[in-house]
């Protein structure tokens, strides 16, 4: 059975059709990648899955573990295990990273019927998670994403992902703005979090991320539709031929 199931999803933004019938099913433990050029609807898909306002779902369904996701507020989706690693992580001045994460982890634990972690237990938990994704210690104390470099922001996203232990992780252009070393570190963090109970949806423009995070399936998104799906070799193919060929064929 699929963990995430998207059927016939149509989405409009201010009356303009962006997604025009997406079908996608991800089984537990699988990593799928969505590739596509700018404006193909990649980020819209990630935002709609996470529940951002401003998108009208005009048709179709999305379920996570059989449960309707579209009905839920963003925070309730988070509690159900949806995690979005942002393309542009947001700065929250004056709020320490570790305080923010404690509030988030405990909100999610509450919603999942687990006990909240006290300050001491949380610090232990956070340190262990930071270790998993190799997050520099000083980032924990600094204000959320404030003055972080591009690489630090993305690493922080993966750290949050580790701490929130999602069922479904959506990585929205996690490679954008990263140099090759940062890309490698971030990818190692992501790979450390792969598990049979966790699905991932990796959204990217470029093939190079998929050298590090190797997906089980790749889908090509073009003008709001998935025009081609295949195994990891599809990425290489795209890299060689570009999207133009597919566009011509579509």
């Amino acid at each position: 059975m699929s963990m995430l199931k998207i059927e016939g999803l149509h989405v409009e933004v201010e009356g303009k059709a962006i997604l025009k019938g997406i079908d996608l099913a991800i089984a537990p433990g699988e990593v799928h990648a969505i590739m596509g050029p700018n404006g193909s609807g990649k980020s819209t898909l990630s935002h709609v899955l996470a529940g951002r306002e401003g998108y009208d779902v005009t048709a179709g369904t999305v379920t996570l573990d059989g449960e309707d996701l579209l009905e839920l507020d963003p925070e309730d989706r988070a509690a159900k295990g949806v995690f979005l690693a942002f393309q542009y992580p947001v700065e929250i001045p004056g709020v320490s990273n570790v305080y923010f994460l404690k509030a988030a982890v405990n909100a999610v634990r509450r919603a999942r019927g687990q006990d909240e972690l006290d300050a001491v237990a949380f610090m232990k938990y956070a340190r262990q998670k930071a270790e998993t994704v190799k997050l520099p210690k000083d980032l924990m104390k600094r204000s959320v994403n404030s003055g972080f470099s591009g690489g630090e922001k993305k690493r922080n996203e993966i750290f949050q992902m580790a701490a929130l232990e999602p069922r479904l992780a959506i990585l929205d252009e996690t490679d954008s703005g990263l140099d090759i070393d940062a890309l490698r570190t971030v990818s190692e963090g992501v790979n450390a979090l792969r598990s049979p109970e966790r699905s991932m949806l990796v959204i990217t423009h470029y093939q190079r991320l998929l050298d590090y995070i190797v997906p089980d399936r790749i889908h090509v998104l073009l003008d709001g539709r998935i025009v081609k799906s295949g195994d990891k070799s599809l990425a290489k193919e795209l890299e060689a031929e570009g999207y133009a060929e597919l566009r011509a064929g579509a």
Partner: protein
């Protein structure tokens, strides 16, 4: 009957009309010289105190209510207000079960201990928490240190030389309309005297919260720190305070002598009125500190979340060379609240320094104005000021305004002013919610981050309560 006789009769009515019943003592509405005399008599005040009040009253009669603040409210009828009420017993309830559950919910959110909740709600307290004995312990500790901390009405009798010397020395009776009114009719307030070289052994706050909940609508506070002394004073309470008196006009005067330091913190949460702004408190406050001696320091920290109208500019007169003035402020206006608040830093002495950090938050239909004055006198060589003034907007119907006045008469002075305005963005909220936080928790988190520098200046216990208070005050502000 001549006009004079009619007047006399009318005036007399006050004395006759003054009534006493078992529960309380209230003067009928209206303000004349006789009202002032009555207040002074009721308090058994010496002649000099009465004369001082009368002088203020006569001045006040010729003054006009200021209209320059960016606040609007219907005209106040000063003759419709009662200017004297003896301290009342709050209605005693048997247990917390009888208290409005909504109020209890707020107390719980603020994390106020159960026994303290009872005190605030007017529930009879049990033997475990005997406020009288606690107060006695405090008093003994303070006495040992030589600190005087008592109602100002008591200080008029016990320390007349100090009161006479300092009362009105920082905020003179001529200062402004509301300060003169206060001087004429002030109800009560606190008097603090810290002797030379003494570091006050406790925050003068816990005591205050337990004992002086009801100081009336015209509060007057005087704090004197002698050479080399230190005191931290906390006024107010995070718990929501209701009061049947709509007009509040307090005066606070601080005097810091050489090398002395006064830290004055306020958490103000008066009733802001309903969603249409009806019934909220008008808070017109004059607060000023005088850094009299060299190297003295006065620091104001305020968290203003309540009141329908706030008109308040805690200021520092930096007279002593190398003296330091600080102002840290968080002001929040939600619903129909209006706040015109800021500070004045008046640099007179050499190398005087001042810091102003102001954080204004507007939500709902709230209107928020920062009004700050930095003045550097001719003799203030090497004076420095740094002002940072940040506004945060929540929603699209509120307003934030910044009005800095800068007047520098010395070429060696340095004055810096930084201002920012930001909005809680949809992207910030979505980010927090995606991580599992509710919208309200997200707003509270972002606002607390915004105010961090100021909250950090509050005494620890109050910083925690103030943080929660900001969140509660903004409930329902988004969406």
């Amino acid at each position: 009957m001549s006009t004079q006789q009619i007047d006399e009769l009318l005036e007399k009515k006050y004395e006759a009309g003054f009534f006493t019943d078992i529960e309380q003592d209230i003067a009928p509405p209206g303000l004349t010289e006789d009202t002032v005399r009555l207040i002074s008599t009721k308090k058994n005040e010496p002649d000099w105190m009465l004369e001082w009040r009368l002088k203020a009253f006569r001045l006040w009669q010729r003054m006009k209510e200021p209209t320059w603040a960016k606040v609007s409210y219907p005209p106040i009828d000063y003759q419709a207000i009662s200017y004297y009420a003896a301290p009342k017993q709050k209605p005693k309830l048997e247990s917390l079960d009888e208290v409005d559950p909504k109020l209890l919910e707020t107390y719980a959110k603020l994390g106020i201990p159960l026994e303290e909740q009872k005190l605030l709600a007017g529930v009879a307290v049990d033997a475990v928490f005997d406020s009288v004995s606690v107060a006695t312990t405090f008093k003994a500790t303070l006495k040992e240190a030589g600190v005087v901390f008592c109602p100002i009405s008591e200080a008029v009798h016990s320390h007349p030389e100090l009161v006479q010397r300092y009362l009105g020395s920082v905020v003179p009776v001529t200062d402004n309309f509301f300060a003169s009114l206060n001087a004429a009719v002030f109800s009560d307030g606190s008097f603090v005297y810290i002797p030379k070289g003494v570091r006050c052994p406790m925050e003068l706050s816990t005591y205050f919260r337990i004992n002086a909940m009801n100081t009336g609508q015209f509060e007057r506070t005087l704090i004197i720190a002698e050479e080399g002394s230190y005191v931290s004073y906390l006024e107010g309470c995070t718990a929501p305070q209701r009061d049947e008196n709509q007009l509040h006009a307090a005066v606070v005067e601080l005097v810091a002598h050489q090398d002395a330091e006064i830290k004055y913190s306020t958490v103000q949460n008066w009733y802001p009125g309903d969603e249409d702004g009806k019934g909220g408190i008008y808070n017109f406050v004059t607060k000023r500190g005088l850094c009299e001696g060299a190297r003295s320091k006065i620091s104001w920290t305020q968290v203003e979340t309540g009141s329908a109208i706030t008109w308040k500019y805690p200021s520092c007169v930096l007279k002593g060379d190398d003296s330091v003035g600080e102002f840290y402020s968080v002001a929040l206006s939600n619903m129909r609240q209006q706040a015109d608040t800021g500070t004045k830093m008046i640099h007179l002495g050499k190398r005087t320094r001042s810091t102003i950090i102001s954080k204004g938050i507007s939500a709902g239909h709230g209107q928020q104005t920062y009004r700050g004055g930095v003045t550097v006198g001719r003799g203030a060589d090497g004076a420095r000021n740094y002002t940072q003034c940040d506004s945060l907007l929540i929603g699209s119907r509120c307003g934030a305004h910044t009005i800095p006045y800068i007047d520098v008469k010395n070429r060696t002075a340095q004055v810096e002013h930084e201002a920012t305005t930001s909005r809680i963005g949809e992207d910030q909220l979505f980010y927090c919610r995606q991580r599992g936080l509710s919208e309200e928790d997200a707003v509270s988190l972002i606002v607390n981050g915004f105010c961090k520098e100021v909250l950090g200046e509050l005494p620890m216990e109050f910083a925690v309560e103030a943080q929660k208070l900001l969140g509660i005050s903004l409930e329902g502000a988004v969406g």
